[in-house]
């Protein structure tokens, strides 16, 4: 049962992240997940100062609020001040993280307060994180319920909003001419991203979430030009990484999140080499003869 629960957890994170990540990759915003992972630090400090505790719930609330703020600032710098998307991501998260570091040393320097110790969960412990309510909820770990809810919301969001997301991702001018608000879809997407990120951090830790936001979507992007196919492929890559990663971890007795992310990377390399569309080994002529 433990193996199944861990793979299920990994797969749910993979599906949420891959669906949203595909749009992020296409919008050249794939580092948003990583940005949020750093940017939440001031939120944690404020949550601690307000609540006086390092329990999960206040930390989650603080992180979620700053996560939203992060995506809001990124969009503000990008749209209003015409900063490139990568630069606006960079400015936002380094600024917020630095703010957090200062707040830690000024207000809470003597206590252990950082993402790793108060926010990031550990996927290996998901099966142990049971609920004791005496109801049907007790059959699955707390984390799995939360991620199931997140997955339903994300899948629903992408399904219902597919048209709007697609048009605003590929052609903003055309979207505007149809009266579709690019700002609305951007903020909707980014809100989903920050909520998914923070909830997944709390469940399985940062590295897996950041990896699953980018790598499966990037692998899928190498294989197809069609958005729908890309979404399905990205989910497939994500789930496959979760499954194979679990067995890699079991074989080498290593970190499960690390193994899943590693497998995702390996799958990307394999796709990169063998992709029929732009794979290296399929090219008739090599790009360069230099070693």
């Amino acid at each position: 049962m433990d193996a199944f629960l861990i793979i299920l957890t990994g797969s749910l994170v993979a599906i949420c992240a891959a669906l949203l990540g595909s749009f992020l990759v296409l919008r050249k915003m794939s580092m948003v997940g990583d940005a949020i992972s750093h940017a939440v630090l001031p939120g944690l400090v404020v949550a601690y100062l307000v609540s006086g505790s390092r329990a999960s719930l206040p930390m989650l609330v603080g992180a979620a609020l700053v996560g939203m703020l992060t995506t809001f600032l990124i969009e503000l710098f990008h749209k209003k001040f015409k900063l490139q998307s990568d630069a606006s991501i960079g400015v936002t998260f380094t600024f917020l993280f630095a703010l957090g570091v200062i707040m830690v040393s000024a207000f809470t320097g003597k206590i252990d307060l950082d993402q790793d110790c108060v926010l990031h969960g550990e996927i290996a412990y998901v099966p142990l994180d049971i609920l004791v309510t005496g109801t049907v909820l007790d059959h699955l770990p707390y984390t799995v319920w939360v991620l199931l809810a997140a997955t339903i919301i994300v899948v629903g969001f992408v399904y219902i909003g597919f048209k709007g997301l697609k048009i605003t991702t590929f052609d903003e001018t055309y979207a505007a001419s149809l009266g579709i608000s690019t700002a609305f879809w951007h903020y909707a997407l980014m809100s989903m991203v920050s909520l998914t990120t923070v909830v997944s951090f709390e469940a399985v830790g940062a590295i897996l979430v950041v990896a699953f936001f980018i790598i499966p979507a990037a692998s899928a992007y190498l294989l197809t030009d069609q958005l729908k196919k890309m979404l399905f492929l990205a989910c497939g890559f994500g789930v496959l990484s979760a499954v194979l990663g679990y067995y890699l971890a079991a074989t080498i007795n290593g970190s499960i999140a690390g193994s899943m992310a590693t497998v995702a990377g390996c799958l990307f390399v394999i796709t990169f080499l063998f992709s029929p569309k732009q794979g290296l080994l399929k090219r008739k002529k090599p790009l360069s003869t230099k070693a």
């Binding site: 199944f4 329990a55 003597k110 206590i111 252990d112 108060v118 969960g121 412990y125």
Partner: protein, 308 residues
């Protein structure tokens, strides 16, 4: 293409569900104890003796703040009869999982440092309040943890209660001797030189118990970064007091403390690196430093040799 991949993924998922392995590699009849840190594991082994098999999650040299769980750790926790952890937030978020597991009837799960009266603990932040978890360097305080583990095991396994009690008493006698020895050694350092400078604040209890001033560069968390002013203040202190040595720790990088050594050199004061102290983790299993008492002795010898 996508269909084939999803079918493949589903197949693998299905095989996972169907082939569950049950581990039966436990030693017959022994109480299986899993401890988080080496110090807790050592105490549990000393009390449980021949009736227990103890595993620790964090190996030698592992910083508890940076510990990452492996696949095998889950299995250890699943199969454990007793889980002992330090508590006081030393294990970070992991403790929340333990707290939840403790609600289940089939396991004994206990934070060994949490029972200590709060008055005996050091408050690091009145907001909360938050306590310093590094209690093991005050030998008297840590000796109480042995008794706590003894009581816990006796309660859960009353058939061996006399044996556990005898072990607790034997161990406490040994630790009383150790406590006296540490005090005597520290007293042999000239009073003006009794300043212990390390990379992070893991020695507050040690300092308070044995009368040696402790200056940490980094704060309680090994992740918080040393501020520029911290480094400067430390350098001034070392130069003013003509302190002979500063110390590095087995589970914390040496970079920051090197900056201090350099800073002193620029001010014309040679300060040596006095040696490596064990702070959050013990030495390799099988060596002298791989036990609690060996670790304390090694630290005290290192400190005394460098400062005397």
């Amino acid at each position: 293409m996508n269909l084939r991949i999803s079918i493949f993924a589903c197949l693998i998922l299905l095989t996972t569900i169907s082939c569950q392995r049950n581990s039966t590699e436990s030693a017959e009849g022994l109480i299986k104890i899993v401890a988080t840190t080496g110090m807790v594991a050592d105490a549990a082994q000393a009390i449980g003796g021949e009736y227990v098999v103890v595993e620790s999650l964090m190996g030698p040299g592992v910083d508890p703040h940076l510990y990452k769980a492996t696949h095998g750790d889950l299995k250890l926790l699943r199969n454990a009869d007793v889980i002992l952890y330090n508590g006081l937030h030393l294990e970070g978020k992991m403790a929340e999982v333990f707290e939840k597991m403790a609600q289940l009837p089939d396991k004994v799960i206990h934070p060994v440092a949490e029972f200590i009266p709060k008055a005996a603990l050091k408050v690091v932040d009145p907001n909360g309040p938050t306590y310093d978890p590094h209690i093991w360097f005050d030998v008297v305080l840590w000796a109480a943890v042995y008794k706590e583990i003894g009581d816990l095991l006796s309660h859960s396994y009353p058939e061996h209660a006399d044996y556990f009690k005898a072990n607790v008493e034997g161990k406490q006698a040994e630790l009383t001797v150790l406590d006296g020895w540490v005090q005597q050694e520290i007293n042999s350092i000239p009073e003006a030189q009794r300043i212990l400078i390390t990379a992070h604040d893991a020695f507050e209890y040690f300092g308070a118990a044995y009368g040696i001033q402790v200056k940490g560069l980094q704060g309680i968390s090994t992740l918080s970064e040393a501020g520029l002013r911290d480094v400067k203040e430390l350098v001034d202190l070392i130069v003013d007091q003509q302190i002979k040595a500063v110390f590095v720790e087995s589970s914390v990088p040496v970079r920051d403390i090197n900056a201090v050594v350099k800073g002193c050199k620029e001010k014309g004061h040679e300060v040596a690196i006095g040696g490596t102290l064990f702070s959050d983790a013990m030495g390799e299993a099988g060596t002298e430093e791989g036990t609690y008492e060996g670790m304390v002795k090694s630290n005290v010898n290192t400190i005394v040799n460098a400062l005397r």
